[in-house]
Symmetry: C2
Subunit: 354 residues, 2 copies
DNA sequence: TGCGGGTTCTGTATCGATTCAGCCATCAGT
DNA sequence: ACTGATGGCTGAATCGATACAGAACCCGCA
């Protein structure tokens, strides 16, 4: 059987009768040889079917591959489903595309050992982690490689180069806004807890990761600052069964079943808020007359919910761009915290008189 | 200045006092050495901070990298926006994740030369092309590398290994369904034309690519088979300015402005159909009493439009899974055509009596 | 004692390119 | 005619690992 193997640079060199170096230069440093010879080399290469320098060999020699990796806690499909993640990746892609670098979506980090292996074996020049996990020894496995490493929205324990947003200030502003409007009975729709190890106390799970506790703290800040009783604010915890929107529906049901009913709900994401709005609509509760709702993220859909969602804007695309830029800059020891901003739309209104 | 370089396998070998081969075996073939020695090697490696075999070097030697590439015609962000693309990638991810292989989203293929360079230099074991382009010499640049190559939804000219769906049969069934319901004045909402070279005739642009002409042919099949006049069916062509949904709105406006108004619209995608439904709602046209609409794809949202969309289901996730499986199998010369199926919901009804 | 058969480990070639120092002409300047 | 640049090209070392063929040793058994 006749197996066709792609020719190598050496084959081309032999065919032309020059050294390998010269052929290499024909591809990488046109100024190092005469135009004439270069043309001849390229010609022969084409007629031999030489596909150009092998990327892996080049990567080995040069020490860089032109690929950066992205790890994400959830199954990949979820990344495509979550609008906030989509915008973030769009930001990444903007910068990486421009630099001609490709983005490898690494398989989900599974059980500890397999996950560590994936990270240890990924042929990348750097890594962006978009994971909540803080204690993660899988990521430690990567850090041993001493490659640029940027973590996003991930607390303080992982890497020296981090980008995040002012979660706490954001929910603080959102909650203060509600309190200013006269609301006193608040409820919180909290990001669902996923992947908790068996037997973890749900209340404790709440404190894990970074985003969730920070946003919760902001809410609490505002409540306490207003002299209200934090312990009286219901914060149902849901172990997610699916999308955040679904979690929002479940939590909304729990909150709205209470008597007296909350007059305002602070949701930790727009998707959660969308779920809350759906339940309110189902029950005939008028938003914002009978119930105010604020979200977080300001995804595009926040503009088109009914009513349009008051929310905390975070610069999602900019966050992706910043992360990519830092990575390309070698991930210097930096902590970037992007600002958040309250955007008041139609889902919040003064509390009804009792 | 003291630069820390990660130790290599050779350093570990020296430190333990064994050969490189043995260290390599400690990682890759535990059965080739005593548990005792292996443990010692791993210990020393850990204490030296050796991150494990370098993936690039291993890739060179083994001839495989554990990464497959995906190219897409549109900017990356669009891929995340298009629900059909998302499901397709989900299918890919399902299979690749299970195989521990990562997916590199290659930068968009830009102008010809840069695009070809990207493909020539991507360190991947294989490539999945999710592009319409058929004549593409950028893809030819990749094929010179003799790596597994699967094209999806891309006509007949590119690769020996293709997966697609029965586009023509799908729209044929959808159109026949409308005709059976008594509709005689049809309109077509066609996939928008993107990236046409300057000066191309829009009518000609319609025939380019693969999906669009195939779906159009199916519609025509049904129209002709029913003895209707194909030339009387309006097919507005839109050069896309944005999302398919937006294109659907524009085309719907054009179609519904006609007098006499079509009583049914065949949309080439669910996103287009969603745009059509929005415009109909804006204008107070009752769907399905005054206007029937069919879509294509059966994205999840098709279930929840108002009214729920009659559409042609294509197995998007399965398509992704099949493409990934074929690629992993080395992309044998195969043509897979997955079936499509008409799903009747609430957006189609018998034509109103005139 | 001698020999087949396992296990455990080593040495060397190899994967396909890039890098770097340096060689050889040619050519301008004095 | 000699020096110093410059352009154009080559050879050998190197990137970090894996494959493959065998060496050394221990075991049991005739």
């Amino acid at each position: 059987m006749f197996v066709v193997t792609a020719p190598t640079l050496a084959d081309v060199a032999r065919a032309v009768g020059v050294s390998r170096t010269t052929v290499s230069n024909a591809y990488n440093r046109p100024d190092q040889l005469s135009d004439d010879l270069r043309a001849r080399i390229l010609d022969v290469a084409a007629s031999l079917g030489y596909p150009g320098p092998d990327p892996v060999a080049r990567g080995l020699r040069r020490g860089r591959t032109g690929v950066v990796g992205l790890v994400y806690d959830e199954p990949l499909s979820y990344m495509f489903t979550d609008p906030a993640a989509v915008l973030f990746v769009t930001g990444l892609a903007n910068v990486l595309d421009a630099a001609g670098i490709s983005l490898a979506l690494l398989p989900r980090l599974g059980a500890d050992d397999a996950g560590a292996a994936v990270l240890a074996q990924a042929a990348v020049d750097g890594l962006i982690s978009f994971c909540e996990a803080t204690d993660d020894r899988r990521l430690a496995a990567f850090q041993a490689r001493r490659l640029p490493f940027v973590t996003v929205d991930a607390g303080t324990t992982q890497a020296p180069c981090r980008v995040g947003i002012d979660d706490r200030g954001g929910t603080r502003a959102a909650t203060a806004h509600l309190i200013d409007l006269g609301h006193r009975r608040l409820g919180v729709a909290v990001l669902p807890v996923t992947d908790v190890p068996e037997g973890t106390d749900p209340g404790e799970a709440m404190t894990q990761g970074s985003t969730r506790p920070a946003r919760l703290a902001g809410i609490r800040d505002a409540v306490v600052a207003a002299g209200l009783d934090w312990d009286a604010v219901p914060v149902p915890v849901v172990a997610s069964a699916g999308s955040d929107r679904e979690a929002g529906r479940i939590e909304a049901a729990l909150l709205l079943d209470r008597a007296p009913r909350p007059t305002a709900i602070v949701a930790m994401s727009d998707e959660l808020a969308a779920g809350v709005l759906e339940v309110a609509a189902d029950r005939g509760i008028d938003v914002p007359r009978e119930l105010s709702v604020v979200g977080f993220d300001d995804i595009p859909a926040a503009r088109t919910t009914v009513p349009a969602l008051t929310t905390v804007r975070q610069p999602l695309v900019a966050k992706g761009e910043e992360a990519a830029r830092l990575l390309l800059a070698g991930a210097p020891e930096t902590v970037v915290e992007l600002p958040t901003e309250l955007v008041v739309r139609a889902s919040t209104a003064p509390a009804a008189r009792e």
